[in-house]
């Protein structure tokens, strides 16, 4: 028996009965300002479990800055005293890119009687059986970032179409009715669904501007590549009026500096390096991104579900975006930190606002 979360003792036998889907309208979900229900999201409500509970975060790949910041943010969240009080145990596991290993880790945690698990999945399709087994065992499973092809569980993500949209909107605003503007679009990794959605979002705004001329270059989400392709396009096509960029946007600013061209409005990513160079050069624009701190929001969603709150099956987070006029060293970017640090660390609607110290003081290791 499980002494850590006593309510589970009697509940295991009737676990399947506990997970009942209650049909309520989306407006009825918990904290809709933070956990914004995506269009067509179902509402998921499970019976409350008295805390403190045992939860786990299961991650796949861990070898890049986004994933490392994501795990650090999760740990930073768990270190906040009021969150700490909700947790009996918080385990973090990164398993690498192997589907079988991630399934095994999840099975082990479900088997070990954890109350809830948050998951950044290796792929979107292989976890059907896990969703079923978690449900059978009465374990709350919440997926984020790489969401699964299911509406049976609560999932948390940023809408990538919307991310493209808000970047393009900012740039269009700053162009302020300029006739026949020339805009440069820096795309991401070709063939990727995130690149496609970002692009579609940007174009949904840009294409409505009369007389606009958009030039596309492919930057592979990599600062070095972005700098090279932007330098090339500046050399061949001359000046642009604005740039919308998916990721690696420090490269745009550097290319402009190298070409000795004046700074133009740029809507780009939220890496520390991008914000530093944007602030230094006085670039007007927007900094927004898929923020690794969403792991913290996901943990918050898991706790809400464990408390029996009604949750949407897909949360579309308000995208953390700030205008470059609001950039301030030590507040939303840090000249003392590496360029690769993800400077978008807050989801104000969810009450999450980490300082860089809070995140950087955590390790990316398993616990």
């Amino acid at each position: 028996m499980n002494p850590l979360c006593p309510a589970k003792v009697g509940l295991l036998a009737t676990a399947a009965l506990l997970l009942s889907l209650v049909p309520v309208t989306a407006a009825d979900t918990y904290q809709p300002a933070c956990f914004v229900p995506a269009p067509n999201a179902k509402t998921i409500q499970t019976e409350a479990k008295p805390g403190p509970c045992r939860i786990a975060l299961v991650n796949g790949f861990v070898g890049n800055d986004w994933r490392i910041n994501m795990i650090q943010a999760a740990k930073a969240w768990a270190a906040i005293p009021e969150n700490k009080a909700e947790l009996k145990e918080f385990k973090i596991i990164s398993v690498g890119n192997d589907v079988a290993a991630q399934i095994s880790a999840l099975d082990n945690l479900i088997g070990a009687g954890y109350d809830g698990i948050v998951l950044n999945a290796v792929n979107a399709t292989s976890f059907g059986p896990i969703v079923k087994r978690a449900k059978r065992a009465g374990v709350a499973l919440v997926a984020f970032d790489n969401v699964l092809d299911t509406d049976e569980i609560v999932q948390v993500n940023e809408d990538q179409f919307q991310l493209g949209e808000i970047k393009a909107k900012d740039v269009v605003e700053r162009l302020a009715g300029k006739a026949n503007p020339k805009v440069l679009e820096v795309r991401g990794l070709p063939g990727n669904s995130v690149d496609r959605d970002n692009h579609d979002g940007m174009r949904s705004v840009l294409d409505k501007v009369p007389g606009i001329q958009v030039t596309e270059v492919v930057g592979n989400w990599d600062t070095g590549t972005v700098q090279k392709v932007v330098a090339d396009v500046l050399a061949t096509q001359g000046q642009f009026d604005a740039v919308v960029c998916q990721h690696g946007c420090a490269g745009v600013v550097r290319a402009l500096i190298d070409a000795k061209m004046p700074m133009i409005p740029i809507a780009g990513d939220a890496e520390n390096g991008t914000r530093i160079i944007m602030a230094q050069q006085g670039v007007k624009g927007l900094s927004a991104a898929q923020a690794p701190a969403m792991s913290a929001v996901t943990l918050q969603a898991l706790i809400a579900q464990l408390k029996g709150e009604p949750m949407p099956s897909l949360v579309s987070l308000a995208i953390p975006a700030i205008k470059t006029e609001e950039l301030k060293d030590g507040v939303n970017y840090w000249t003392s930190l590496p360029n690769t640090f993800y400077a978008a660390t807050s989801f104000p609607a969810c009450g999450i606002d980490f300082t860089a110290d809070q995140i950087m003081s955590q390790t990316p290791d398993n616990t």
């Binding site: 861990v62 070898g63 385990k91 596991i93 990164s94 398993v95 690498g96 890119n97 192997d98 589907v99 079988a100 290993a101 399934i103 095994s104 880790a105 099975d107 082990n108 479900i110 088997g111 070990a112 009687g113 792929n123 979107a124 399709t125 292989s126 976890f127 059907g128 059986p129 092809d149 290791d365 398993n366 616990t367």
Partner: protein
């Protein structure tokens, strides 16, 4: 004269010691038993259905692939396409193994047949094309990966859920069905084969091909058989992975090729061919996967996983070198 020169060493062996080569089987089994005990000790559930079924399931795919790899290794070859065959069968399974019971049965047979065919193509390239196994399978592996991507460009598909539940849960409510499946398939295929001349000639040609040939064995046929077996067991692995994930993914194969070689070596087989056992290889596969489960519950850094696997592999290879050091006649080892 020659015979009497070798026999004194044999006679001087103490009566209670293991027969020569027994450590090759005993060592992986003992290490696995120790790791299993550690896992039970640190697992929050201890020895229970909830901990045993995931443990059994997670290594079945690798065990199948490793057994397949073993048959090639024992003939002194190496199959670098085995992960690709696994991926191809996994992709095919996600297209074929669903619908009515008849459709499912036909689907399973078709997937296994494609696996055997892939193996036969490898074998033909090695035997008739006279290409080195490493080179031949490197090339065919790329072809199979390409085919898998054509069958399933993005992960997904549909696999029969009832059959999946049957194979990934427990028999009699406590014994992991996947383990029964693994041992049943391996036993039903290898046991009858190991009683035949053809089956035994797998070891013989790996041990000393010219001697085997001069003793009237058929190395070509044995080598072909080894590759077909590799294809068959890789397809079994691909099928099981499909049951585990209820979907197919053309990109799953990569890690399995190298891990299968690791499992074979850890399981006591020699890459020089001719020695090793199927049971040892299965133990090798479980050993690798048990390490990763232990790491989950001890909270060791994820980056250290390959390090630990590498250390185990190095230890396994080093133990193999003891034979060389202790042997009186070094030529025997070097051949």
């Amino acid at each position: 004269m020659v015979a009497t020169e070798i026999s004194p060493a044999r006679r001087s062996r103490p009566p209670l010691s293991l027969p020569p080569g027994a450590w090759r089987l005993a060592l992986p089994l003992v290490v696995l038993a120790v790791l299993f005990a550690v896992l039970i000790a640190i697992h929050p559930r201890g020895l229970a259905v909830a901990s045993m079924t995931p443990w059994a399931n997670q290594a079945v795919t690798l065990a199948f692939v490793a057994v397949g790899q073993f048959f090639v290794v024992v003939t002194r070859g190496l199959d670098l396409s085995i992960g690709a065959v696994l991926a191809l069968s996994n992709a095919l399974a996600s297209e074929l193994v669903s619908g009515t019971p008849v459709e499912i049965a036909v689907g399973v047979v078709a997937v296994l047949a494609v696996g055997c065919l892939c193996g036969a193509i490898n074998g033909a390239a090695v035997v008739f094309g006279r290409i080195q196994p490493i080179v031949a399978t490197l090339a065919t592996g790329a072809i199979y990966t390409g085919l898998a991507l054509i069958v399933r460009p993005t992960p997904g598909g549909d696999v029969d859920e009832a059959l999946s539940d049957m194979l990934t849960y427990e028999t009699f409510g406590f014994f992991p069905t996947s383990l029964i499946l693994l041992f049943a398939v391996v036993y039903l295929v290898w046991w009858p084969l190991s009683r035949t001349v053809l089956g035994r000639s797998l070891y013989a040609i790996g041990s000393n091909e010219s001697a085997a040939f001069m003793s009237g064995l058929n190395p070509k046929r044995a080598r072909l058989l080894a590759h077909v077996l590799a294809g068959f067991f890789a397809a079994c692995g691909g099928l099981f992975l499909a049951f585990q994930t209820l979907s197919g993914d053309a990109s799953v194969g990569f890690s399995y090729t190298l891990n299968s070689i690791a499992a074979v070596v850890i399981g006591g087989a020699s890459l020089a061919g001719g020695v090793g056992t199927v049971i040892g290889v299965i133990a090798g596969a479980y050993l690798l996967r048990t390490i990763s489960t232990i790491m989950i519950f001890t909270g060791l850094p994820p980056m250290a996983q390959p390090l630990f696997e590498g250390l185990v592999l190095l230890a396994a290879v080093s133990v193999g070198a003891i034979e060389m050091i202790t042997s009186r006649n070094k030529l025997k080892v070097l051949r």
